[in-house]
Subunit: 377 residues, 2 copies
């Protein structure tokens, strides 16, 4: 192991990539998909499977072997990062030579499973001209949905960095009436301070959305707008630790809340609690969405709710399961998911409450812990 | 126009999206590709064409019409951002309903061109079941290679933010012998200060690679390794302004350079100059790579050079033209490209020099301006 993996050394339990590979190999060996090789091209799947974090790799999984193919830039790094996985590393600087090595490896396979959602149509044609491909939904993505203790530990650390940064930045935000700050100022300080509190990075582009127009956009990007008295403000912020994301949203009213602001904050809070109450192993993801949504619909605010109620979080900030009304997925123990209802209307602004939970057999365990003062009249 | 576009208001010349759409429509009207509609799904292409910056959109270009389809989260933002483009906005919260609207629009097209490198194989199958698709390399990507004055202005501002941040951080780096800093510390300060100097964000994950192992990896990610006397250090940093990227690398020796360090820095500098001298309109991109590479090969260091000599920069950090030995592309006036030779060897570390240029008829104009003290014996 080189110094390249020092970032997390000693901070967290190691991730057992060899065990993950064995699970995928046993899925392959059970032969349910008729393929005797997997060609994995999605870089997140590759990271989960082997530990490799570079930007160029392809992995071939056979029943008794795993090989990672990459280019000359990443030879050293691949060896260091995948040391515990048992993967063979093949590094070639020339693309043509790399392809030859892959083709030689796959010449003996009767069927090579490829995730047709991760590969472009043009690339699919290129692969099909080289070996016998079959579309196969990613076995790795299925496994990725259930997090082990080592993963939850990293996600919790990412959430803690966001909690610590927001605790420092909240007073700056609430002080904007006396010492004006912009959305971008708040964003810049949050992302800087998450790193000072141990995050490798932000989890996603931080949202700081203020006032009657910006806060009405669920995915607003921070601008140089100064935050002023009377604004609703939505802050959606998460940290990144060893590749794992966190996700949290808090909403504020600058100065004294109006009756409408306080009432709608209470309504969002009730929707949030209904979503959390519905979150347990075995339920349909759509039922979690329905529970949170019903609170808004019953209050006559159904058309102020512009998105789904949550999503899985892990090596990607948005991953399965997704709890929207159209979801066909289910919630399982070990899922790490958000609950994040919100209300948006140009003129009013917006309010959203979001926490991150690991789903346990006995109910959801919260990973985000920032306490915010509820707006009151 | 809402406040959402305030970030760049008044700072830069406006981008004329309507003119860009007319160019693509005229390419379509010339009929060379046999298609009477384009279905654009690549979000960077969509941003270049219309100004829309959200994370979900599809654009249909007809000879006399342009429509942007997005979901309910982005209706307001799409209207604001694309106001100057002439695009019609269609926002639907339900995916099925959005698809119906697209299908209705394309029912009358005899052939719909789709970039088969931007669409997954699974998605291609879904589109092909709905309307008459034909694979068509992106007309937008071809146009994106040549930057107009408004784009160069933004890229230059992004480069200036990186110059200003690095000027502040260089003394912190060089002072590590007395006041130790880690790679991650240097990275965190650079990215924070770029924003204080006007960047919206970093252009890419900043590289700070130090010492005999890390600096030997061209794409190293910063760790908590403390930078020490005798290290070679590679800093690869760029800013992001209104979606446009910059890219620059500087290399350092901490303390007094050894003879080998000084000699190899000179060698990288000579390779860099050869690459810049070769950079002019009309040449093959591969010839630019060959000019820089030859300096290393002639000195016996060919196998220390692990990557291509440069790439285009714009709304993406890596875009055409790519100047590698395998490139089939050419350099054109208006391209914004890097020249970035380097040498890497575990045990020695690494050195890279990279600047960003806009290619003019009378030669390359440099956009990155940081002056670094060359290591000397």
């Amino acid at each position: 192991m080189t110094e390249g993996t020092v970032v997390t050394e000693g901070r967290f339990a190691p991730i057992d990539h060899a065990a993950r590979i064995r699970v995928i190999q046993s899925m392959l060996a059970r032969g349910g998909h008729g393929c005797d090789a997997l060609f994995v091209t999605d870089l997140v799947d590759i990271r989960w499977l082997t530990g490799f974090t570079g930007s160029n790799a392809q992995v071939v999984v056979r029943r008794d072997d795993v090989a990672l193919y990459t280019d000359g830039r990443y030879g050293e790094r691949a060896l260091a990062e995948t040391a515990g996985s048992g993967a063979r590393i093949v590094a070639e600087s020339q693309r043509a030579r790399l392809d030859e090595r892959v083709d030689a490896e796959l010449a003996s396979a009767t069927c090579v499973g490829v995730d047709d959602r991760s590969v472009s149509h043009a690339e699919w044609g290129r692969l099909a001209s080289r070996f016998a491909v079959a579309p196969l939904a990613s076995l790795v993505k299925v496994q990725r949905q259930v997090k082990d203790a080592a993963e939850v530990e990293r996600i919790a650390a990412a959430a803690a960095a966001a909690d610590a940064a927001l605790a420092e930045v909240e007073p700056i935000l609430m002080g904007t009436v006396d010492d004006p700050v912009t959305e971008a100022d708040v964003r810049t300080e949050l992302e800087y301070r998450m790193r000072l509190h141990g995050a490798d990075d932000r989890s996603y582009d931080t949202i700081v959305a203020s006032g009657p127009e910006h806060a009405a956009r669920p995915h607003h990007e921070p601008t140089r707008r100064t935050i002023v008295d009377g604004d609703t403000v939505i802050i959606d912020v998460g940290g990144l630790v060893d590749g794992y994301h966190s996700d949290m949203t808090r909403s504020y009213v600058i100065g004294d809340a109006t009756g409408e602001q306080a009432d709608l904050y209470d309504l969002v809070d009730r929707s949030y609690r209904a979503g959390v109450d519905a979150l347990r192993p075995g339920v349909d993801a759509a039922a979690v969405d329905a529970a949170a949504r019903r609170v808004f619909v019953d209050a006559g605010y159904g058309d102020w709710y512009l998105h789904g109620t949550g999503h899985g979080v892990g090596l990607e900030i948005h991953e399965s399961p997704f709890h929207s009304s159209a979801s066909l997925e289910a919630i399982h123990a070990g899922n790490v998911v958000t609950i994040e209802p919100g209300l948006y209307r140009v003129g009013f602004g917006g309010l959203r409450i979001e926490d991150l939970f690991v789903v346990r057999d006995d109910g959801p365990q919260r990973l985000t812990h920032t306490v915010t003062h509820t707006p009151t009249r």
